[in-house]
Symmetry: C2
Subunit: 219 residues, 2 copies
DNA sequence: AAGGCTAGTGACAGTCGCTGACAGTTGACA
DNA sequence: TGTCAACTGTCAGCGACTGTCACTAGCCTT
């Protein structure tokens, strides 16, 4: 009843079992992204991935619902960061302004969070791979749609609105999200491969949103 | 050397071969949508579809790149109608206004075009199925992204701009498209299952776009 | 310290979507 | 009428994914 094993199992701290799982998961993510970015997504089989980590194929599918899912482990974190940032915006801020600042803030602090997972450069390559692989792009867009719903709820809550009643949160988020997707696409197609360039592009496109909708474009 | 078969093959008119192909294709579309909407998409196998039309599985895949593609045969036509409508807008119209009117016009005239393919009601059911089936939703979004590019080029041309230079066409179309997706989603989730209700919803959301981005929302 | 519990895993077999290769059939056209 | 090319069916096989079951190894109690 004194020492209960090598790991004291402080409450709230993951046990050996949990850590082992996490390690397997991380290893699968890293191996997969490595293989995907070097050989291409479709030319890489699940068998190759599991061989690199030395687990069974069955195990792979216990961690990830599909071959594509493994790519989005990092993306998930980036999105979480944005949501968190949005929640932190002061409530007096106008809704669209809050969205805009939240992304930009998120980009400022995202670098290190990625790094502790995979090298930033690998994340960038993965991002481009998504943009250029139909199967992955499709999943990406679906995920985006799901995140949108959460953002709508946050925006509605900020304004004290019921999202079922008032369509404005939906509309604002839909437009915002459209521009964000555009930013991702353009960044992926461009030369510069830094977080900084992504931030700059995002800022520039969001700024132009209102003028692009208003009246005509001649000065 | 005189009569060359029952069908004289008037130039410009499809020959027997072509008509046969078209019939097979249509039959596959109809059978697939029928099965999908009754049994569900994932619970329907390609084997079942080809059995219903009495062709080989290989033939199915010669017509459609994948099981999902068969669902979008009709959607394609709807999009084409919108693009055509946009091309017909008077050039003085401000860009976003042109987009807005183009969709609404398209909805006005779309009913009969669908009907000659499948019953409108079946189209509606198919649309809902897309919204609720991840695999299909993903394809849908990807297709949308491709159409967007064409729309951007049209808008840029209207304004005499080079889309590589000026981001405004991209931004406007991105926001527009975001709202359109939203309209589709909400319509699919709602009760009313008519083209008219879709048109109404589209109009209402597009109207609210600018106010939803501007300042704060209190009056 | 020992033994039971069970989450996590591997091995294996099977389904389904999809593709390549090859051979047979049938409109198109000279 | 015969040749050609387009379509099609058959078959064999790959890769993604799932269900099942037995086994290993953290974990938890006593």
């Amino acid at each position: 009843m004194t020492a209960r094993g090598v790991t004291p199992g402080l409450p709230g701290l993951p046990g050996l079992r949990e850590r082992k799982k996490q390690r397997t998961r991380d290893a699968l993510v890293r191996a997969a992204i490595e293989l995907f970015t070097t050989q291409g997504y479709e030319r890489t089989t699940v068998d190759e991935i599991v061989a690199a980590v030395d687990v069974s194929q069955r195990t792979f599918f216990r961690y990830f619902a599909g071959k594509e899912q493994v790519v989005f482990a990092v993306q998930e974190m980036v999105e979480a960061r944005f949501v968190e940032s949005l929640r932190g915006r002061p409530p007096e801020e106008p809704p669209f302004e809050a969205l805009r600042r939240a992304v930009l803030d998120a980009w400022d602090s995202i670098g290190e969070s990625i790094e502790q997972f995979v090298p930033v450069e690998m994340y960038m390559r993965a991002f481009r791979m998504i943009e250029s692989t139909p199967a992955l792009l499709a999943v990406q867009m679906r995920r985006t749609a799901e995140t949108e719903e959460e953002i709508v709820r946050i925006v509605a809550a900020r304004e004290g609105l019921d999202p079922e009643e008032d369509p404005r949160p939906w509309v604002a988020v839909a437009a915002f999200s459209g521009v964000m997707q555009l930013a991702g696409r353009r960044w992926g197609a461009g030369e510069e491969i830094s977080v900084e360039s992504m931030r700059r592009l995002t800022a520039s496109l969001l700024e132009r949103l209102e003028p692009s909708l208003a009246g005509d474009w001649r000065r």
